[in-house]
Chain length 419, copies 2
């Protein structure tokens, strides 16, 4: 995999040029893309041209190439939202997150495969660790492009588990920042209270570096790690649905973190949080029926049968049910805030297990949706594998708005697992 | 003015046809529009065709024609956001709020004038009460179209004071619901924490009826009024900047409400709320610089000098300042929630005075921005005038999420003023 932060430092210090890096990516893409199918659109010629522009090497992102999930608007490349309804669609503007990449000196090399409207119906991407398995969704192409070493960084989005799950399945770092840390404008909305931008990279320090450069926030942790953090291991009421491999990985990560100095203990989720987990779908689907109302009313036949049925069911969710779900979420956010008085981060499953076999489904967000609803910063930490060699990730969940602290704990866990 | 709720009932009971109403609007538009300039685009032929369609009369909005502020995407009419950058722009979809109008049986008759990107640079609209005065902004055309009797209902948006202020200046009801009660997707974002959809109509019951029909919420108050509500009269730390006419109107409205049975008392805003008022601009401008980043980076020369200077200044707002402003807003929301334990609604200025003379500026949002930041439901209640006969509105502010209660108090104030 390509190590974004090291590559940026190499370029900034003159040991590497943006053009050389772009050529390296182009080679990797030529080799791996035919088998993996991570991209909807590539424009390597334009990317090479931008890499050759004056002054790129000195900028924060030093000309690093990015993949951008094709649920996010770009002015220079078509944006199809994973739907035939938008075949060839050309947005008028870049989404602000794309402008943030460009302003910081990053280069958009291509658009990556998303499931239909970032929901469940898969695209064509294969898992780079084993092509017979799903890469996860909905940010399938972004996770796969980084995992295959085709790009150092990619942008995805998460409404249920669409950053953490594909990161876990592909064996890369996925970082879903605190809600609204990265702007969601200019992405095709599914649920405005849940949709969250995220980043994929090889290591925790790589996504931290990129997020810092894009936002101007003090997120670039370099080689720093959390010291003696208090880590609560959370298995949730859904623990029985996690596979033996997932339990083994969580246990191994907890023991490794403990050996590296963390104070590790088991933590049961308060009932307010389990209640919030149960109503994620109410909020998501009520809002999806509004967000996709134009497509539902004018292009229903061009929606997948799965999404159509999902939206048909959402019509029946009343405003009272929705309002009650929002109150449940609010109570849970307050309870979670209290809980973080006694803990620095939570450690939990990233997914029920390794990537399922087959490309017809993208796996379950059951261990992600609560944290999306809470707006908490989440990081998938890779490094562990199951008996068949497939990646099994673990998830670090931080306190709302304390992303640097969460990244530092994730970096400790990452190092502990590797060591 | 056209009374939306009465017209809908007339249509539903067969006393009037949607086509007759559309013809009446077309006549009023032919008469008043040349002098007022409320519309960017009109398509009365299409509106007439939709009014003639089978079954329209039986639907909740009964074929009532709407004006839609041209900051909101429409699939059938160009959407230019008040900016030359978007001349002739055709969005791919209707904004969800437009779909809500259509689903409920309303008809979009035209797009109404907005200031540039719903900020301060005015369009060409004149105040229907006195053409030498501003109609207010940024929802200039929507307020003017309803005030001139050209349409019964119109949609606007508010980020600072862009619904309540033009409603006050034009002498119509403006209703800014609780934040996110009406979906903001598909409008050109200025600030995602502030942008709020709102409605204009002749009477409180008209906007309440429309909002109920569009959202499925129990907002249609009919002839109901609040009974003996506790009303806190709030003059704020900016009271000295309100004109004598504004003070007279607030006092007159308070006395009339009291005579109609309300329990009226003076209420000083807690310091947490005055602090929040002071940082509205930090949140608005930090987010505007992100939201308009594509236009800023690619079309800077096509922005007005005023907006360009505003965004230039916003570049200097750091993330720490922004985060502190968000914490200030959060504290104020909690404090305001506590305050509503002892009061049913607040009564305050809608604007510093009647519409200023001239079309070069749209007036000040100084008595609106705090309530936008709090997400509170607000209603401009018209009916009072200054010595020159210009409308002077008063503003009812309700508790977050309790829109029906706020509308009932506003209806009481409206009736008290009229009586």
């Amino acid at each position: 995999m390509l190590l974004a932060r090291d590559l940026a430092l190499d370029i900034q210090s003159g040991r590497l040029s943006p053009g050389d890096l772009m050529a390296r990516c182009a080679d990797a893409i030529a080799e791996r893309e035919p088998e993996i199918g991570a991209f909807v659109t590539l424009d390597l010629a334009a990317a090479r041209q931008q890499a050759a522009a004056e002054g790129v090497a000195a900028r924060p992102l030093a000309g690093l190439p990015f993949g951008v999930k094709d649920i996010i608007d770009t002015r220079d490349l078509p944006t199809e939202y994973g739907s035939a309804i938008y075949a060839g669609h050309r947005p008028a503007t870049d989404a602000p997150i794309v402008t943030q990449v460009k302003r910081a000196g990053g280069i958009v090399a291509g658009k990556t495969v998303t499931t239909e409207f970032a929901h469940l119906t898969p695209g064509r991407t294969r898992n780079p660790r084993n092509g017979a398995h799903t890469p996860g969704g909905s940010s399938s192409g972004s996770a796969a492009a980084v995992a295959a070493g085709m790009l150092p960084l990619a942008i995805g989005t998460q409404t249920g588990g669409s950053v953490i799950r594909p990161a876990a399945f592909c064996g890369v770092v996925g970082y879903k920042p605190t809600f609204r840390t990265l702007p969601t404008l200019g992405m095709k909305t599914f649920s405005w209270q849940l949709d969250t931008m995220g980043l994929f990279g090889a290591r925790v320090q790589d996504v931290a570096f990129a997020a810092g450069a894009m936002t101007g926030r003090a997120l670039d942790i370099g080689a720093e790690r959390a010291e003696r953090p208090r880590i609560g291991v959370v298995r949730t009421a859904r623990a029985a649905q996690a596979s033996a491999a997932a339990h083994d990985a969580l246990e191994a990560a907890a023991r490794a973190a403990e050996a590296a100095g963390a104070q590790v203990f088991t933590l049961d989720l308060p009932e307010e949080l389990e209640a919030a987990d149960a109503i994620h779908g109410v909020i998501q689907d009520f809002e999806a029926w509004i967000a996709l109302s134009d497509e539902y009313d004018h292009h229903r036949g061009a929606l997948s049968a799965g999404l159509r049925a999902h939206l048909d069911a959402a019509v029946g969710i009343g405003v009272d049910t929705y309002d009650e779900a929002r109150r449940t979420a609010k109570r849970a956010r307050q309870r979670l805030g209290d809980l973080f008085a006694d803990v620095d981060a939570l450690l939990t499953f990233s997914a029920p297990g390794p990537a399922p076999e087959g490309l017809g489904a993208t796996g379950s967000p059951m261990f992600n949706r609560l944290w999306t609803l809470m707006g908490s910063p989440c990081i998938n930490v890779p490094g562990l594998v199951d008996g068949a060699g497939l990646p099994v990730g673990v998830q670090v969940v931080g306190r709302f708005g304390r992303d640097r602290a969460a990244l530092l704990v994730a970096a400790l866990v990452e190092q502990a697992i590797a060591g």
